[in-house]
């Protein structure tokens, strides 16, 4: 049984983990093959005009590139160019409002290394990320497992889990603002406590994590659910006959088969989590500058600091430097998490 699960997901998981890379690869493979076989069949025996054969050759060589070109063109315009431009901006003392623009070399970066507020924001970001993502993915997994069962009104529930995603953020801000209000808040009333959710660093992270999880758990659950439905039923039947309990089936069949999907969600959550912006900004709507993340920056994330530097405090160049630092951090964290989850799954 151990070997079969390994083989299956590679074929099946293309659906849930349908990221661009994988699909792009399969498209080129599909395109190239018929062309190659056609040229092999038609190219050798008769010799039509030289023009036609040149055209065919060109077709053979160029059309795959033409087919993959749209992605790369779009990527160049909307991905690579802004990236390089941001790098260029980050090498300047640049203010959009004041109109200053001076070459600064790596001045912004050397300031960044000694900037307490940057590191403070990094700790906040990683803290909120850890606090929100771990329970979120576990919860999503359980939720997906529940939704995967035979139940009445399954479609309704499946749609309902992504409802938070389409809820107006303004409404979210108001509702959560009231839930986590110190004096009149529902949560404090429920817990018979008097926690100042905004002033205290750890509690503010907790509150923001709740907001994040409320919004994104359903989304991840839906991805897990799609992957779960690709797991063949006979595995469970066989396990049931062998006497495996529901829980055991979940941990021994479902989770291992979902590994590629879990990897995908972990990477996506890392990218999203380190760029966390909307929730803490909304959570900070009780402060005079929403981008501050509280009076002592207790819940200011890196993206908030980036935005506040670039647009709030007119340090466009420094904001760009923060953006680049964030970019590198996300790559590092994604690789780290990828390796970690793969290792953790591999030992099973």
């Amino acid at each position: 049984m151990a070997s079969r699960p390994e083989g299956r997901p590679a074929r099946r998981e293309a659906v849930p983990g349908g990221d661009g890379r994988r699909e792009g690869a399969s498209v080129t493979a599909l395109d190239a093959r018929p062309v190659r076989s056609a040229s092999r069949a038609g190219g050798a025996p008769p010799k039509p005009s030289a023009w036609r054969s040149r055209l065919a050759k060109l077709d053979l060589k160029a059309s795959p590139y033409a087919f993959v070109a749209p992605f790369f063109v779009v990527f160049l315009v909307f991905g690579a160019y802004p990236l390089v431009y941001t790098l260029w901006v980050s090498l300047h003392d640049w203010g959009l409002a004041s109109g200053t623009r001076k070459w600064a070399g790596f001045g912004n970066y050397s300031y960044l290394f000694g900037d307490d507020q940057f590191w403070h924001a990094l700790v906040n970001t990683v803290g909120i990320f850890a606090l929100s993502t771990v329970p979120q993915l576990l919860l999503a997994l359980l939720l997906a497992n529940t939704l995967n069962r035979r139940m009445r009104g399954a479609t309704v529930f499946r749609i309902a889990v992504v409802a938070p995603l389409i809820t107006s953020m303004a409404a979210v801000a108001i509702v959560f603002g009231q839930l986590f209000d110190t004096d009149f808040g529902f949560v404090n009333w429920l817990l018979h406590s008097h926690v100042d959710w905004h002033a205290n660093r750890a509690w503010s992270w907790t509150a923001i994590s709740v907001m994040v999880d409320w919004r994104w758990t359903g989304y991840n659950a839906l991805i897990f659910l799609a992957a779960m439905q690709a797991i063949p039923k006979d595995l469970y039947e066989a396990a049931a006959i062998d006497g495996a309990s529901r829980t055991r089936q979940f941990w021994q069949i479902t989770v291992p088969l979902l590994r590629p999907t879990i990897l995908f969600t972990v990477v996506i959550s890392t990218i999203g989590g380190l760029q966390l912006f909307t929730e803490p900004v909304l959570f900070g709507s009780g402060t005079s500058n929403k981008m501050d993340g509280g009076a002592t920056h207790q819940f200011q994330t890196l993206t908030m600091y980036m935005y506040d530097s670039a647009f709030g405090h007119d340090r466009y160049g420094y904001g760009a430097a923060v953006a680049w630092a964030l970019f590198l951090l996300i790559i590092a964290f994604s690789l780290l998490n990828f390796a970690f989850v793969r290792r953790a799954g591999g030992t099973r």
């Binding site: 203010g95 959009l96 409002a97 004041s98 109109g99 200053t100 507020q117 107006s168 953020m169 303004a170 801000a173 108001i174 603002g177 009231q178 209000d181 110190t182 004096d183 009149f184 100042d196 002033a199 909307t278 900004v281 909304l282 709507s285 009780g286 402060t287 005079s288 500058n289 929403k290 501050d292 009076a295 002592t296 207790q298 647009f311 709030g312 405090h313 007119d314 340090r315």
Partner: protein, 430 residues
């Protein structure tokens, strides 16, 4: 226009979608002049009716307004327009916090002196006029719109409970100075438990800094050559200590205006006084609603004067119709325009002629017990002295206010507060 609006529009993050149109409109002004002017504002300027008047007196000109509800959304947008040299309206509003920054690149704006604005100088409050002027006095970048003269709103019913006078003249006599305001607050909190004296520390700092600087050196956080003098200017230190005293003694509810907690608190007995720039009256009326009817009144502010908020109108050089745009800016900031705006949205005029208009000077506010707000604010605004603000003034102010709030939250010890504030100011001024 008014600082409050950007705070009020907390929920607006998602709704940033007003902008759809390109700049300018119509072609170059030919013989059969037919042009469209675009005005970029945020919050409520109360100009809608005035555009029609302008269109009637200027045939061939149509005026279109692009309004963004919060200053937070307006700021980055304006930055991009000015930086890239396209997209800005023919007339743009510059709030008091961003005006000093744009003063640094005043070459991006037309000199309103070239369009006959010099003759309006006598109509404006001198300090308001001066802030819109380049330091050497050669270029007029912005014409003043509204100002926010600072009064003090208070809860009559809670004052009565504490055995304090409730009549607005007598209440004003309770606190000629901030020390007396503090003492009154302690008396109040001794009598009424569960209610703080003030809503938050920020207005106290803001008002005292301006009062001290106006009476003293004429500048606050930055000297007139834009050097940070936060830690050496006695006007600042004294103001900071005054504000800190309120925080230290737990006499504020540590709230920021127009935020959801503040809005909720206005429907309860959370605090007894709110420093009230003219535009704040509308906010209190809106959020205190029926609960606050006959409970609020308005008296003079300790220290005698102060202002909070206000804007200027400027014409970016990129405008294709600079002449007509300047005409429009002059019209909107002229006496007629400012009276119209006051009638529409209670924005208090910076134009002295408009202030003297009976529609303004005789205005009574029925929500605040028929207080003669036109008279109260007119007197307050007359005693404001000009204070120079550096381009990074807002950044420093925000950073320092954060330290005060952190003291109230128990995150910064009062004895460390000044040191922290100096550090924060230095970082913000970088």
């Amino acid at each position: 226009m008014m600082r409050g609006n950007r705070l009020r529009a907390v929920a607006v993050l998602a709704a940033a979608g007003v902008l759809a149109a390109a700049c300018g409109g119509g072609g170059d002004s030919k013989s059969d002049k037919k042009i469209q002017l675009t005005v970029d504002v945020f919050g409520e300027f109360g100009y809608e009716g005035l555009y029609q008047q302008f269109e009637q007196s200027h045939p061939g000109v149509t005026v279109r307004q692009r309004k963004v509800s919060s200053l937070d959304d307006y700021k980055p947008r304006l930055q991009q327009w000015i930086a890239t040299g396209s997209g800005a309206g023919d007339v743009v509003a510059l709030e008091e916090g961003i005006l000093p920054t744009y003063m640094q690149q005043r070459t991006k704006f037309v000199n309103l002196f070239d369009y006959g604005a010099r003759s309006m100088q006598g109509d404006f409050l001198p300090w308001k006029w001066q802030l819109g002027l380049s330091p050497d006095g050669s270029q007029l970048v912005g014409l003043g719109t509204d100002v926010g003269p600072l009064a003090m709103c208070y809860r009559k019913d809670l004052f009565k409970k504490a055995g304090l006078p409730t009549d607005r003249d007598q209440v004003g006599k309770l606190w000629p100075t901030w020390d007396q305001f503090f003492a009154t607050g302690q008396r109040f909190q001794g009598k009424v438990s569960g209610t703080k004296w003030l809503d938050g520390p920020t207005a106290v700092l803001r008002a005292t800094v301006l009062q001290n600087a106006g009476a003293g050196p004429g500048y606050s956080y930055f000297d007139k050559s834009n050097n940070l003098v936060f830690d050496t200017n006695p006007a600042v230190k004294q103001a900071f200590d005054t504000a800190l005293k309120f925080e230290q003694n737990k006499m504020t509810a540590d709230m920021s205006i127009f935020t959801p907690p503040w809005q909720t608190a206005l429907k309860r007995d959370t605090f007894a006084t709110v420093p009230c720039p003219s535009w704040m009256l509308g906010g209190i009326k809106q959020f205190s609603g029926d609960f606050g009817k006959d409970r609020w009144d308005v008296a003079t502010t300790p220290g005698g004067s102060g202002y909070w908020g206000g804007s200027w109108l400027a014409v970016p050089k990129q405008s294709k119709h600079a002449k007509d745009a300047a005409e429009l800016a002059k019209f909107l900031t002229g006496a007629q325009g400012q009276v119209g705006a006051f009638k529409a949205k209670d924005t208090f005029p910076s134009n002295v002629k408009a202030e003297q208009d009976p529609a303004v000077s005789g205005a009574l506010n029925d929500y605040f017990g028929n207080a003669p707000t036109g008279k109260i604010f007119g007197q307050l605004v007359a005693s404001v002295k000009p204070v120079y603000l550096g381009p990074k003034n807002e950044d420093v102010r925000q950073a320092v206010e954060n330290v005060l709030i952190a003291v109230g939250q128990g995150k910064v010890k009062p004895e460390d507060a000044w040191g922290k504030a100096v550090d924060a100011a230095k970082k913000a001024a970088r």
